[in-house]
């Protein structure tokens, strides 16, 4: 017997799901932009398939990043994904024992225990092939059920899984999760009842079957149980494309495309849609998002992406994000939440057309300088930083020119963060012209916001872009300036754009280490909190920003350091209004501890530089 009518809910559901996936995936791939299609074709041929497949195995099945987040949470996800995968693969192998090795219809291995009542071996005879499979299949089912138990516990004790908050689910999600959670207990019941009726099954199903048979009419119950199992599978498959579980197939596609080098562009595109559909709404991002502290939970990435997926993000969800990148850092799927948010803003802000008339007043000046110093707009709002840099640059003996001494063209980053990339391109074009024609080889800026955009969006061949923390470290290491250690304690705050944004964590610390004793803080480097002053957010008021600022200050100042050091003028300004502790930029710390270099050292340094 290889067919029964009860397989129809499963089989129909599966065919429906495959059809929907085929249509969706084809539509996504077909609407990739030109460079995306090129990358896709190239990626398929140049061997990227292999590392991508490895990542699919490690992430989609084993959930390695989830494990990093929390072991219990990782195990829960792995037991469902990897367990189900094993159930399918091993079930298929097992079914071939009984079907003579040829390929079976998809429902046959799934409902194998209904179709085959193997009584040739005893339940615990592991050394025979059927016995081994019976054991391993029961074991895998138990493995999945352990994950299910954890999932139920997580509902009430999410803290055990490292999560303060979990995602609130939509209606489709509720249908899907209910059917998903029923699938494996129903399989257990169906197999156990069948085992009870026919004395089959492995260590688990046989034991349970014998137990149920003692007081239940299992011979009448097993058939409805198989119906229920099939129906649960069918319902899950039908609801999957509209629920968060769409992330299961989509993430696989995402991993391949990402390995091929495809990224979310400046406007919403089909790749950003793939990223949006890949969000499992696991909720890991919700806890790390400081929007919660400000009472704006609906703007956290999980909910924002959900709104995007169902097509109705409100303006506030779009605008309300510091773009600090903490969510991207912890996301198990590594969804580029920042790029998606910025692309979504394009739609909101595209009607804004700024004027560029003022650009004409800036002319490139011919300088003989090697170093071009750019304070940036924020640098001009913190004159102490600017003054410190000029003092250090003068002391270093380097030939420098102060590019924006007399006003400047904005770097373009604030416009980019608002999604206005066409307007930003105008500024980038102008600044590129000014920098290229200055002839300088090194460009140093005090502002991490500027640094990121000069580093990533500008094409300046032959010009090295440095943040002042990197440059100052270089000056100290090369002996062009000397600093002393005054023995005071300091904590260092990683600015979002410099740390997570540009991966510069070490240079400021190495530099500071020569001047102060650095106290560690509970959340630093990749986990550093946002200061609350970000130009990335377009909707928060100051009261809400202050909540975020104070939260960060609490963590930073826990060790009661003498000074709080940062490397971003905006962080400095923001923190300075929230604490009595002295807040300094790293350049000011250097400037205060600058030692007069002896003449011989100075000329030696000049020679090295020459």
């Amino acid at each position: 017997m290889t067919f029964d009518i009860f397989v129809i809910p499963f089989f129909g559901g599966l065919l429906f799901l495959l059809a929907v996936l085929f249509i969706r995936f084809t539509a996504w791939l077909a609407t990739l932009d030109k460079s995306g299609r090129k990358k896709l074709g190239h990626g398929l041929l140049n061997g990227q398939i292999f590392p991508a497949t490895w990542e699919v195995f490690m992430e989609s099945l084993l959930h390695r990043r989830m494990f990093k987040q929390n072991k219990l949470l990782g195990f829960m996800h792995m037991s469902f994904a990897f367990g189900w995968f094993l159930l399918i693969v091993l079930g298929n192998l097992e079914s071939r024992i009984y079907s003579g090795g040829h390929v079976n219809p998809p429902y046959y291995p799934i409902f194998l225990k209904f179709f085959v009542h193997d009584k040739r071996t005893l339940p615990f005879e592991l050394y025979t092939l059927p016995g081994f499979f019976r054991f391993i299949m029961d074991f895998v089912l138990l493995f999945i059920l352990s994950g299910l138990v954890l999932a139920l516990i997580k509902r009430v004790r999410s803290k055990w899984f490292g999560m303060k908050r979990t995602t609130q689910h939509s209606r489709f999600d509720k249908w899907a999760i209910t059917s998903l959670w029923l699938i494996f207990p129903l399989r257990l019941l169906a197999e156990s009842f069948t085992a009870g009726a026919y004395q089959g099954g492995g260590f688990l199903t046989n034991t349970l079957g014998t137990f149920f048979a003692a007081f239940l009419p299992v011979e009448y119950l097993y058939y409805p149980a198989w119906w229920a199992y099939s129906t649960a599978l069918g319902v899950f498959f039908v609801t999957l494309p509209w629920s968060r579980y769409m992330h299961i197939p989509t993430e696989v596609l995402l991993i391949y495309l990402r390995h091929f080098g495809i990224k979310t562009g400046k406007k919403p595109d089909s790749f950003s849609e793939i990223e949006i559909y890949s969000c499992p709404r696991c909720g890991v991002c919700i806890d790390v998002c400081q929007m919660n502290s400000a009472g704006r939970t609906s703007s956290t990435p999980a909910y924002f992406l959900r709104s995007l997926r169902y097509g109705n993000p409100d303006d506030e969800q779009n605008a309300n994000c510091m773009l600090c990148g903490r969510c991207h850092e912890v996301c198990p799927v590594q969804i580029d939440t920042l790029a998606i948010r910025i692309a979504a803003r394009y739609e909101d802000n595209k009607l804004l057309v700024p004027s560029f008339k003022y650009l004409d007043q800036f002319d490139p000046s011919d300088t003989t300088a090697d170093i071009l110093y750019f304070a940036g707009c924020m640098g001009h709002l913190t004159p102490a930083v600017k003054k410190a840099m000029l003092k250090i640059l003068t002391a270093s003996g380097e030939r420098f020119s102060f590019m924006d001494e007399d006003g400047s063209v904005c770097c373009g980053r604030p416009l980019l963060l608002a999604g206005l990339h066409e307007a930003a391109a105008e500024l980038i074009r102008k600044n590129t012209d000014l920098i290229t024609r200055s002839g300088a080889k090194t460009f140093v800026t005090s502002c991490p916001i500027c640094y990121k955009v000069f580093n990533e969006e500008y094409k300046l061949p032959g010009v090295e872009i440095l943040h002042h923390s990197q440059y100052l470290l270089r000056l100290v290491e090369s002996g062009k300036i000397k600093v002393n250690n005054t023995g005071i304690t300091a904590v260092y705050h990683d600015p979002c754009e410099l740390g997570r944004g540009s991966k510069i964590y070490n240079e400021p610390r190495w530099l500071l280490d020569r001047m102060v004793t650095i106290n560690k803080t509970e959340q630093e480097r990749e986990n550093s909190l946002c200061c609350g002053g970000s130009v990335g957010d377009l909707s928060m008021n100051h009261t809400e920003r202050n909540v975020i600022r104070d939260e960060a200050l609490k963590v930073l100042l826990a060790s009661e350091p003498d000074i709080l050091v940062t490397a971003c003028p905006l962080c400095k300004k923001t923190f300075d209004n929230g604490t009595e502790t002295v807040v300094m930029d790293i350049a000011e710390v250097v400037s205060e501890r600058l030692q007069p270099a002896s003449k011989t050292e100075l000329s030696a340094a000049v020679e090295i530089a020459g």
Binding site: P383, A384, G407, N541
Partner: protein, 343 residues
């Protein structure tokens, strides 16, 4: 025995309330954290709107204190404890006293201009605060760091006031008219000096203030530019270059001045905040203390027997502060008439 009232703070409000309370028959313990009474007035050379010397008002207030006022100076009250209808007070150095009622006249502090880093206070030599200019008037020497006389001075209104970014959304009330007064005084000391005032809007709320503003424009040719300063830089000659938008012309301006005066606003004094926290008093988002009703019982706190007067409940000019102090004295008298007839 006469009832004893502790007045915390010997500035304008504390002095006026103390003499009012004694004339109502109370004994007063006046506690001042500094060595001398007078609060901010003692550092203020001349008062708006008529530019009379601050010391004149201060002398008048001090001379009204009779022998029923026991003055303790150099004492910072750190704790006020309500105990059985009375209060036990103690200071940081261990001094103690008791009182039947307490009047907080703890006042304000000036906004720390360093918090507005883009204006360059503490960074550039010739950026000073309005309080520092007032001291300069006392010495009669208006000069730049180099010793030269400034040829052009800018006044920036609303420094630390009406500025969400520094956490102060409120208006400090007195800075506009102070700027006008100081601008005129500059012109009197240095008739050739050009004076610019950068303002958001001119809040000339008191009697004769508007006349003073008119006089500043018509008689002294002081230039008032509507626009908030965005940032200042120092050029190689030490000139302060201001970036500001003239919002009436709708044009960005760049202007160099020899000296920049920041009109720093009022914030609740540290002691106001500390005692408020210690007593569990309500304070608003502006951090000033809150009375039970801002119209009808502006001097009465949530704690029976504890009263407020002066700028601990928000920015006030001197005349309003003195009126508020007398009103507090009456509120205290009323408190004993209504609630404590038995003793």
């Amino acid at each position: 025995m006469n009832r004893k009232i502790a007045v915390i703070g010997g500035g304008a409000a504390g002095l006026e309330a103390s003499s009012a309370l004694t004339s109502l028959g109370f004994r007063v313990v006046l506690v001042e954290k500094e060595d001398e009474t007078g609060g901010h007035i003692k550092n203020w050379h001349a008062l708006f709107p008529n530019r009379r010397p601050g010391v004149e008002v201060l002398d008048a207030l001090r001379s009204k204190l009779g022998s029923d006022v026991e003055l303790f100076s150099g004492k910072t009250v750190t704790e006020i404890k309500p105990v059985n209808d009375r209060f036990e007070l103690s200071s940081a150095d261990g001094w103690k006293t008791e009182a039947d009622a307490v009047l907080l006249t703890t006042g304000f502090s000036l906004f720390n201009a360093r918090k507005k880093e883009e204006y360059g206070y503490g960074i550039y030599d010739n950026v000073i605060t309005s309080a520092e200019l007032e001291s300069a008037f006392s010495t009669g020497k208006i000069a730049m760091k180099s010793g030269e006389q400034p040829k052009r001075i800018g006044f920036v209104h609303c420094v630390g006031s009406r500025d969400e970014k520094v956490g102060n959304i409120y208006c400090s009330k007195v800075c506009c008219v102070t700027a006008v007064k100081q601008a005129i005084e500059i012109k009197q000391y240095l008739p050739d000096c050009e004076v610019f005032c950068f303002y958001m809007d001119m809040r000339m709320f008191g009697r004769h203030y508007e006349e003073l503003y008119k006089e500043a424009q018509e008689k002294y040719y002081i230039q008032f530019i509507r626009g908030r300063l965005s940032e200042s830089t120092e050029d190689h000659t030490g000139k302060i270059i201001l970036k500001v938008e003239d919002t009436l012309l709708g044009k960005p301006l760049k202007i160099g001045v020899d000296m920049l005066v920041l009109m720093v606003g009022m914030e609740p004094a540290e002691i106001t905040k500390n005692l408020g926290t210690q007593l569990g008093l309500v304070s608003d988002s502006d951090r000033f203390l809150v009375s039970t009703d801002q119209h009808i019982s502006a001097n009465i706190s949530e704690i029976p027997g504890l009263f407020f007067a002066g700028t601990c409940t928000g920015p006030k000019n001197i005349a309003d502060t003195l009126a508020d102090a007398r009103s507090a004295a009456l509120a205290i008298a009323g408190y004993f008439d209504n609630n404590h007839n038995k003793s």
